[in-house]
Point group: C2
Amino acid sequence: MAEDTGGLPPRSDFSAWYNEVIRRAEIMDVRYPVKGLYVWYPFGFALRSQTYTLLRGLLNRDHEETLFPLLIPETEFMKEAEHIKGFENEVYWVTHGGLSLLEVKLALRPTSETAIYPMYALWIRSHADLPLKLYQIVSTFRCETKHTRPLIRLREITSFMESHTVHATWDEANEQVEYELGLSQEFYRDLGIPILISKRPDWDKFPGADFTMAIDVVMPDGRTLQIGTVHHLGDHFSRTFGITYEDVNGEQQFGLQTCYGISERCIAAIIGVHGDDKGLVLPATVAPTQVAIIPVIVGKRGDEILAAGEELESELKQSGLRVKMDTRDMRPGAKYYHWELHGVPLRVELGPRDLDSRQLVCVNRLGAKTIISRENAAESVKKLLGEVHDQILARAESHLESRLMTATTSEECCRKLDGNVMAVHWCGCRECADKLEELTNASLLGTEIRSRYVIDDEGPCIICSKLGRAALVGRSY
Amino acid sequence: MAEDTGGLPPRSDFSAWYNEVIRRAEIMDVRYPVKGLYVWYPFGFALRSQTYTLLRGLLNRDHEETLFPLLIPETEFMKEAEHIKGFENEVYWVTHGGLSLLEVKLALRPTSETAIYPMYALWIRSHADLPLKLYQIVSTFRCETKHTRPLIRLREITSFMESHTVHATWDEANEQVEYELGLSQEFYRDLGIPILISKRPDWDKFPGADFTMAIDVVMPDGRTLQIGTVHHLGDHFSRTFGITYEDVNGEQQFGLQTCYGISERCIAAIIGVHGDDKGLVLPATVAPTQVAIIPVIVGKRGDEILAAGEELESELKQSGLRVKMDTRDMRPGAKYYHWELHGVPLRVELGPRDLDSRQLVCVNRLGAKTIISRENAAESVKKLLGEVHDQILARAESHLESRLMTATTSEECCRKLDGNVMAVHWCGCRECADKLEELTNASLLGTEIRSRYVIDDEGPCIICSKLGRAALVGRSY
């Protein structure tokens, strides 16, 4: 797994940069011998572990984690008509066990509604069993025919968090949708990633949902990446799978459901939104190593410097920080390059002069140098990590702001759309949306937009001029 | 998920007890509509999470975690002849993606050698890349034809930890085998589970290994359960997959490999070895809840008791303990029953008299009552948890000791074997082993036994009377 020390393509050439940084910063290896399946390197896996630890922490406030089987019998999978239609072209099927044909073929879950809901039908009896809020983090599978790309479009999605809740009423399920949108906002704020929330148009909602709220991020090339969805399922699935409860009056009622998903695209967003020409820029909340200590050994005081470095490392670790001292036999400059490529938020340089002055030279990943006192180093380091987090969030916010534009005519929309996301007004009818998508070669992402940069107001439809509402238009991954 | 308050079958009827405790203590639900696939309840999943956090902690000392794809192309899977033979009857095959036949069919990993080693061949170039020590925790699949049972024999093994290492020499790989046996001993000691280590006979080793060291536990019915294996793979796989390195002299050499596995059978062992007629008995190291606080509200001081309980809960949590106060509207007796069934190591009862005396009544899962002072409660509780851990380990050790017997004739072996594991002498030849297995209707588990209860000495073979070595014979799951 030797490091490639050649330069990265510039991040302005985003697609080339992304592929190279995924490889050189050891996130994933794309050379696995099946298209669309990738291998997590240990470093990438450590980033994944930290990110999902953060997500679990948020979910565990009021969800419980569980695990359902990967294999779904065709008989269950085929029960919900809209759902089948949405997935039938991309489901992998297991047909043989050993040398024998299976009696009932088994789907590799593309998502787990049809695995989970038959069990919910057994588990839920009365209103006292509600609400039920479970989640799992699993691999899901889709036989993608489109161009695959690590973390973004895969045939094995290795890190799909899916939450499935059941409630007594449609309104309670709707409150859960809001709650889970709130969790997502908190999650992405902790990652320093500003998001756009909108309601997907009806033809683009999850197969079998009442409606779908989507979370998008704008990548450096101006294309949007869907990095989360919350679906209000109404009673579609509970009617299909018989998820009923006895209400306080002794009547049988169908449960009302939501589901909610976040995949490893959240890691694609971390990489894409924050990275720069030197490589990854990781938020301290999830960086596998938050602080790299680089001993700068000149002259005879090597042992003394290493001892001081070890003492500092252990002190910072004690305070809960993830720290590594890099004692490899390499020039300091090569170590700086390594840790910058891997996005470490803060590097501490430790040379003879620093020992004498009882000071530490700290350089954050954005290049800002601060000299701190050796006393209370842990506290100062935490403050610096907080600062660099605020800086990367602010930078990401101004990037998002610069990519959001408005248009009142389809001609203006076309002209401004390259590299940007457009806010327009749309009357809500399918015909106008189709026409707009065709004229702009882009997608109508959604309405009921929640973003401090877009005003969710009314105005004349960009196509038919009838009264419309704000809608986002963009090119998506 | 309502609780069933009927009595459990006695643990002496182990098979019935096991199935019932799995269900009632909410470990797994067996009603998933595919044979051999089970659903983790949230409580079972929490036990799994704690157990694998413990295992990860041990492995992370010198292994790194990673993740490889689930799907293995037939072309790679078929490369190692012995390996194929070992698995071909139980591999699930994906043949279709959507409605199309795949060009190359894909195996659901039964184990990951053939997924991982093609990548190792790319990653390893020089002696400086060695040793390489990675692991992953994944689902593996086997189309079992035998009777399936939760956590013990499954078609989806949901929690397979597999470590794969590469070394420069056979001896270094052999040291790794010893190291990983040591890790296993530490892991199972932390779970309070005494184990037997032995070398599996040649015909029972992992397909493609030089040799297999196995870790067995003796379940309450006297049957052994294999709860871990460490394989020395020699250079079988490195020759097949081209895993070579340049040594210090610039010569190309094949890597020497080990692999090492522990599955959710470790949780079956926790349940089986420690449980009793009241339900689970969980080691404090992995119990999802280590301490249950039960407010005993009599008279008018309810609010005061709840406030004191909350204060205690928060104090114990602060000190790192996993604590739950049970405020449900139920009789204390029903709560005791609930927490005993779920194996909580320590329950703290909190009533008006305890408030007045500034004391706490602690009852451990084995029934021992201790009164501790409210001052320094966290420290005292930790001490009690340590004591109950020692007690369950000691109990498990004396159970194991009582189940180990010796025999010098096949007739004696047959007579004593029901419910026990036998130590005999065996000359090492296949014919004698076959004869012994046939006569006893049991398996020759292994030689080179490591256990303080079995002496690994020499003696006349139980079948042919030639000089032999100690060997274990038992009936296995």
